[in-house]
């Protein structure tokens, strides 16, 4: 019996995944806020109680995410790209490219059948290709962020906007509003612009199918549709895409217990 935990110290949320003999037995998350370590401790306690296990039963805890150095309990770390590769292939054994779109960063990782990363690319230092962009655009449109996706699916056509910068993107959205474009069309324009940037990034890396999409933004139907259109490919999306990083860290922890990972 091997029980391991993975902690993903994301910029907006901390995620925990507990694995028991290769099965996910618990997930938990909390807002990172100003005290991400505390948030992780809370989420970890929650995950343990959901899994009905004590902390002593966990053989290894590994951390990932931009705040990985602040993770509590962790005895090791794994890069976010390494975690994506592991989780992608665990969730879909046919996965060879994993795209991860989080709150502030988008990345793509190529991997082999063992879930070992072979190459990766990260978006430019700009939030226009990441979740924060949707959040800002939803604010400009005065709709809830979670309504953006369903809204965009009602669009009858696409109207292009600029996604080189959140600030300029917002002013583009405002001018579309002034031109009396409908909200569904503007919502779709937002997702198309993001998908454009992300697909150029993935093309620079080269695409090996199957392609898996993970990260918090992978829950957004509007974005999934836009990205499918841009890439012209089927995209596999797991049930809990936002936990991919934590899952990858937990899988790394498991291979550390087995001794086949440094």
């Amino acid at each position: 019996m091997v029980t391991t935990a993975g902690i993903d110290m994301g910029i907006q949320t901390v995620k925990i995944v507990i694995l028991k003999d290769g099965e996910v037995v618990a997930r938990a998350k909390a807002f990172s806020g100003f005290e991400p370590t505390k948030a992780a401790e809370q989420a970890y306690a929650e995950a343990l109680s959901a899994a009905k296990i004590s902390s002593e039963e966990v053989s290894n805890v590994s951390a990932t995410g931009s705040g990985m150095d602040m993770a509590p309990y962790a005895s090791g770390t794994v890069s976010m790209m390494g975690a994506d590769a592991k989780a992608g292939v665990f969730l879909f054994p046919s996965a060879r490219t994993v795209i991860d779109v989080g709150a502030e960063e988008a990345r793509a990782v190529k991997c082999d059948e063992r879930g070992i990363m072979m190459d990766f690319v990260v978006n430019e230092r700009c939030a226009a290709g990441a979740g924060a962009f949707i959040e800002a655009m939803a604010r400009a449109l005065e709709v809830k962020m979670e309504d953006m996706g369903p809204l965009s699916l009602k669009a009858k056509r696409a109207s292009p906007i600029n996604a080189t910068c959140v600030i300029f993107g917002e002013s583009d959205v405002v001018s579309l509003i002034h031109r009396q474009e409908s909200k569904p069309e503007i919502a779709r324009a937002v997702f198309d612009a993001m998908a454009d940037r992300i697909s150029s990034m993935v093309h620079r890396l080269g695409i090996n199918p199957d392609v898996v999409l993970v990260g918090g933004v992978a829950k957004d139907v509007g974005f999934i549709e836009s990205l499918k259109r841009k890439l012209g490919l089927t995209i596999l999306v797991p049930e809990h895409p936002e936990y991919a990083g934590a899952l990858g860290a937990s899988l790394t922890a498991a291979s550390r217990v087995k001794g086949d990972h440094k």
Partner: protein
């Protein structure tokens, strides 16, 4: 000499008080950074070679070497600065002048350059303009003339901008190496620089003096190659230390640099015999290529690689601020003046792997050289380093990546700026790359 009253075309007037304050503030930051960089290098390799002490001292921009050059200048010797490593060092030495490279590695001077050119321009250029505006770089300030090779767009306009404040001698390299006209044009450029050097120094470059200078530089190449050779096996020296030694050849008295580098190599050979490695032999081995990185501030990437978890070691580079500096000797058949000028022209043109060149095969020389380097130095991967605004290196990446992909050599494109603020993001990327290299090595 340029008349002091000539109207400035680019550089804005700055009040002397502002110049003095800016100079003092950037200089004090820079002094701290130099000390910090060296401390970090010592920490990375606790058994750092004793011979490095000399290079640490010489690397202080405001220290011993600056004073030596000032003293030589007071005795009447001329100082000739240069930007690109196309400047024929042998001719400078033959005229008894002191060559110094003057590209700026200071982050904090780029904000002054921003008053002249937009932020989209390469930060090496912006920072060099800024360094001139506040008089920060001792070697640039001491230069009686600066040789500027018109390689990239940035260098071309930099020459024009700095003409406001310094005597600039331009050299135009051809964009294609392998044609008869190219070599002819370049040879004429070399001859014209020779005349200018003679005029400035008042010293005639005789065949005898030129032969002596070529022989000195051949010795420098020998010492330089010996150091690079030692980096091919298990790590006897950390990459940052070797990079520092390489760069000091740009400023130091070359004869003394040769002695000190040979002494370092003796020590490294002993280390290898005792199997006293600078880091564990299974540390992922990295080669860097791309935009040049200059001491002292722009030590960001090498520090990240060698201080990362998992740790990496730089076993070589394909940089004009590194392993390219002295690698190629001037080849001479007969020691006639004409033959020597030919040899110099060929060495500085044909051996260059600068991305300013193209041909029907593209910049094949650079790719071949990089691949040879990866193989000979047993590198596990390549970091392709580009500062934003450095168009030629950025554009050549796609081609280099394709060539490396074919050989299954992992490569990562890392772009950055002359700033300390992106260290966190760079660290994430560098560590992921090193983690990938270790995983690929393990299996």
């Amino acid at each position: 000499m340029k008349s002091q009253t000539a109207e400035k075309k680019y550089l804005p007037e700055m009040p002397q008080k502002e110049i003095d304050e800016a100079n003092a503030s950037v200089k004090s930051t820079s002094e701290k950074i130099m000390v910090d960089n060296i401390e970090r290098m010592k920490k990375t390799d606790p058994n750092r070679p004793a011979a490095m002490k000399y290079f640490d001292d010489i690397s202080n921009f405001f220290g011993q070497r600056k004073e030596e050059i000032e003293a030589e200048k007071a005795k009447g010797r001329k100082v000739i600065g240069y930007f690109c490593i196309f400047a024929p060092i042998e001719l400078i030495l033959a005229a008894d002048a002191i060559p110094v490279r003057v590209n700026s590695g200071w982050y904090d001077t780029s904000k002054f350059g921003d008053r002249v050119v937009p932020v989209e321009v390469c930060p090496v250029i912006r920072s060099t303009i800024g360094a001139k505006m506040i008089g920060l770089s001792p070697y640039l300030e001491l230069s009686d003339a600066v040789i500027s090779t018109l390689t990239c767009d940035g260098m071309t306009k930099l020459s024009e901008i700095l003409s406001d404040a310094t005597q600039i001698w331009t050299m135009t390299p051809p964009r294609v190496k392998d044609s008869a006209q190219s070599l002819h044009l370049w040879k004429e450029e070399i001859k014209s620089i020779k005349t200018q050097i003679e005029k400035l120094t008042g010293n005639k470059i005789t065949a005898k003096k030129l032969k002596a200078a070529i022989e000195t530089m051949q010795k420098a190449t020998k010492a330089f190659r010996r150091l690079q050779e030692l980096r091919k096996g298990n790590p006897v020296i950390m990459g940052r230390d070797a990079m520092l030694v390489n760069q000091m050849s740009l400023w130091d008295d070359i004869t003394r640099w040769i002695q000190k580098t040979e002494a370092l190599c003796d020590e490294l050979e002993k280390r290898a015999a005792q199997k006293a490695w600078a880091c564990p032999p299974d540390t992922p081995r990295v080669i860097v290529t791309g935009t040049p990185m200059f001491w002292p501030d722009n030590w960001k990437l090498p520090s990240l690689v060698e201080e990362a978890t998992p740790q990496g070691v730089l076993v070589g580079d394909e940089l004009c601020s590194g392993d390219r500096i002295l690698y190629d000797p001037v080849g001479i058949d007969e020691w006639t003046m004409d033959d020597m000028i030919n040899g110099i022209a060929e060495r500085y043109l044909m051996a260059s792997t600068c991305p300013c060149f193209t041909s029907q095969d593209g910049n094949e020389d650079r790719i071949n050289w990089l691949i040879t380097k990866v193989k000979e130095n047993n590198a596990n991967g390549v970091i392709y380093y580009v500062v934003r605004g450095c168009m030629l290196y950025a554009m050549e990446y796609a081609r280099v990546k394709r060539a490396l992909d074919k050989l299954s050599i992992p490569v990562y494109y890392l772009d950055t700026e002359y700033t300390r603020e992106d260290v966190g993001q760079m660290k994430t990327r560098v560590e992921a790359f090193l983690e990938m290299l270790s995983a690929r090595v393990d299996f």
